[in-house]
């Protein structure tokens, strides 16, 4: 279990340990009788999240071939015909092998760890400005096409709940839980240096030389 998860598990155990749980129920957890019950049907309309293991994925299916049509119609204007991006919109394809370089390109293929991370996002937020408009079949199809743009599936692939587990994202192992308290321990220091803490200081970079600050007609105020 990761350190972070074990941390959380500890917190949860503490909160939900039998005695604490019982106590919560008896004393602290007053039921105010405010808030109403909700039907499964009502929940279903908003319950759109999908997890890495596919839990939450809706019924339906879509092929790479069908996805190409959806993509060209609804996605390519911003993301580019091949996922290369049009203008400053997110690039969603290629970028493999760039993460450790000076110019990392984070795409579905090079960076996203799970199929659900892209599927859930398209389902809730895409197309930009027309969210939650795709049918389930279109959603599966366009996701399949984006995977194919990243050479993760072949052109005959059909995405559905049945094939969900067959999709292996290349960068799934590329992440680990926050370890700052261990790897950056050097920043915890009781008595930071106050005098003669370093050698001569030189200016090594100027924001004015980069010249990308928006012009807001700053007044030049000299010394009076």
């Amino acid at each position: 279990m990761s350190r972070w998860a074990s941390c959380v598990a500890a917190a949860v155990l503490f909160a939900l340990a039998p005695s604490a749980h019982a106590q919560t129920k008896k004393e602290a957890a007053r039921n105010y009788g405010i808030g109403r019950g909700i039907s499964a049907e009502q929940i279903a309309g908003w319950d759109i999240d999908v997890r890495p293991d596919g839990q939450g994925a809706p019924p339906g299916r879509g092929s790479v071939k069908d996805g190409e049509k959806v993509y060209l119609d609804k996605c390519a204007a911003c993301h580019g015909e091949f996922g290369e991006s049009a203008g400053r919109w997110p690039q969603i394809a290629q970028g493999k092998g760039t993460l450790a370089s000076h110019d990392p390109v984070k795409t579905v293929g090079s960076y996203f760890p799970y199929l659900s991370s892209v599927f859930d996002y398209i389902r809730r937020a895409m197309p930009f400005g027309d969210a939650e408009s795709l049918s389930n079949d279109e959603l599966y199809a366009v996701t399949a096409y984006v995977l194919s743009l990243n050479d993760i599936v072949d052109e005959k692939f059909v995405l559905s709940k049945d094939t969900w587990g067959n999709v292996k994202m290349p960068n799934q192992g590329g992440f680990y839980d926050d370890d700052r308290e261990k790897t950056e321990k050097v920043f915890w220091k009781p008595n930071p240096c106050m005098r003669d803490c370093r050698g001569p200081v030189k200016i090594t970079g100027h924001a004015q030389a980069v010249d990308v600050t928006p012009d807001e007609k700053l007044q030049k105020r000299g010394v009076e």
């Binding site: 105010y32 859930d120 200016i203 105020r221």
Partner: protein, 417 residues
């Protein structure tokens, strides 16, 4: 004598003042007619009565105190950011209209009558709340800072934007009123397998993030007010999640749904975004806490030094790990440090205001500030951060900022080595 009626006079003076305010120089130049021994115009005549300004706004002379954008940063204003004008503010509370904005699908305009919060998943009884129902529950009031994880993100490779509004303006600090998330979860009753929650917005991005249950029941708030009034639309009206000390992205605005689960969701926002890519190509995930950070807000590039002699350095500090315990200031680029004076309240996971008073004779200065918190964390130099993280991580840049003050009083964002 119609031209001496208050209305006509006011119109005339309004026009004159409008001219004066058109340029900052004109607004700052004084007018001898209003100075002793003369009696000022605003003393000779009545001003506007009550009710004219039903919802008050700042003086027209303060009209350059606004959120600003960096247009080249993003493809579209609906998924973009505007920055708090830190250089024009003081104290610890950010006025509601100046709190930075970060939207992923524009500002949702939600009719409070149609607002609903759904609470479901691994709970005994799924519940749905109206806004009025949330307001009927016991309330808490807390002052917290909110910092975007990408604040100072453009500065990883060196000094880039010349103004603390742009380098540090994705932070604000307000008082929230709302319901403790723990209390809400108790209403639904957690199942023993519950370990994480997912918060989701009702905006056009339906922003969703996973939060460990330990944090959710520790200090999170389902908030509907900021600084006493209802949340501004830009800040999630009518309801947002408050996640004290953690990166702004998890403070889901326009909150419509909380789902309880037994594992994180690994949403796009917590994988493709808001993960910290290190030099070796691996990325840290779930880096929720915002480390201690500070910045001198004045002087700064947008707020130059105007006079020799006595000067006040003013700055802001905060830590997601607890209270800011101390802030030190250096005027020589970090060789020597003096402890600054913190003035005003010091709250857990809130901004504090610090001052450092000094005499300036026109020599060049390299101003820095460094915050320390009660967890013992000391804000690192940018180079010390880069040694561990490289320059690709975008998020969580809390390195020490350097402002160069030049002999003419101008201030520039610089990198020192």
């Amino acid at each position: 004598m119609t031209d001496t009626t208050p209305t006509t006079r006011r119109r005339f003076l309004g026009g004159a003042a409008g001219l004066a305010a058109a340029g900052v120089t004109a607004a700052r130049a004084d007018n001898a007619k209003n100075l002793p021994p003369n009696v000022a115009n605003w003393t000779r005549q009545l001003g506007e009565g009550v009710g004219v300004r039903a919802y008050g706004v700042p003086s027209k002379y303060e009209k350059d105190v606004v959120r600003r954008t960096v247009p080249w940063l993003t493809a579209t204003p609906e998924s973009s950011v505007s920055f708090t004008p830190l250089h024009q503010l003081d104290g610890i509370i950010t006025p509601n209209g100046l709190c930075f904005e970060r939207h992923h699908g524009g500002i949702a305009e939600i009719d409070p009558a149609d607002y609903r919060l759904m609470l479901h998943g691994l709970v005994e009884k799924p519940l749905i709340f109206t806004l009025d129902e949330l307001k009927r529950l016991p309330r808490v009031n807390k002052i917290y800072f909110l910092e975007c994880a990408a604040n100072s993100g453009m500065e990883w490779r060196g000094a880039q934007l010349n103004g603390c509004q742009y380098t540090h303006g994705m932070v604000h600090c307000v008082q929230y009123t709302g319901v403790s998330l723990k209390l809400l979860l108790e209403q639904a009753g957690l199942k023993p397998s519950a370990k994480w929650i997912m918060a989701e917005g009702g905006d056009a991005a339906a922003m969703n993030r996973s939060i460990p249950l330990g944090k959710a029941i520790d200090d999170c708030i389902v908030a509907y007010r900021m600084n006493g009034e209802m949340l501004r639309p830009e800040q999630g009206y009518p309801v947002r999640l408050v996640v004290p000390g953690w990166e702004g992205n998890v403070w889901v605005k326009w909150l419509r749904r909380i789902k309880v689960g037994d594992q994180p969701w690994f949403t796009r926002e917590e994988t493709s975004k808001y993960t910290d890519l290190l030099e070796n190509g691996k990325a840290r995930q779930f880096t929720f806490v915002m480390d201690a950070k500070s910045v001198i807000t004045s002087p700064s590039p947008q707020a130059p030094v105007r006079q020799k002699g006595f000067n006040v350095i003013s700055g802001l500090a905060w830590s997601g790990r607890g209270k800011v315990k101390r802030v030190d200031v250096s005027v020589d680029g970090g060789r020597n440090w003096r402890t600054a004076r913190i003035d005003g309240p010091v709250f857990d996971k809130a901004c504090v205001r610090f001052y450092y008073e000094f005499d300036w004779n026109g020599e060049e200065l390299l101003l820095q500030s460094r915050a320390m918190d009660d967890a013992g964390y000391v804000q690192p130099s940018k180079d010390d951060l880069r040694k561990i993280r490289g320059v690709n991580s975008i998020y969580h840049n809390n390195g020490i900022q350097t402002w160069a003050v030049k002999p003419d009083g101008e201030v520039e964002n610089v990198e020192v080595g």
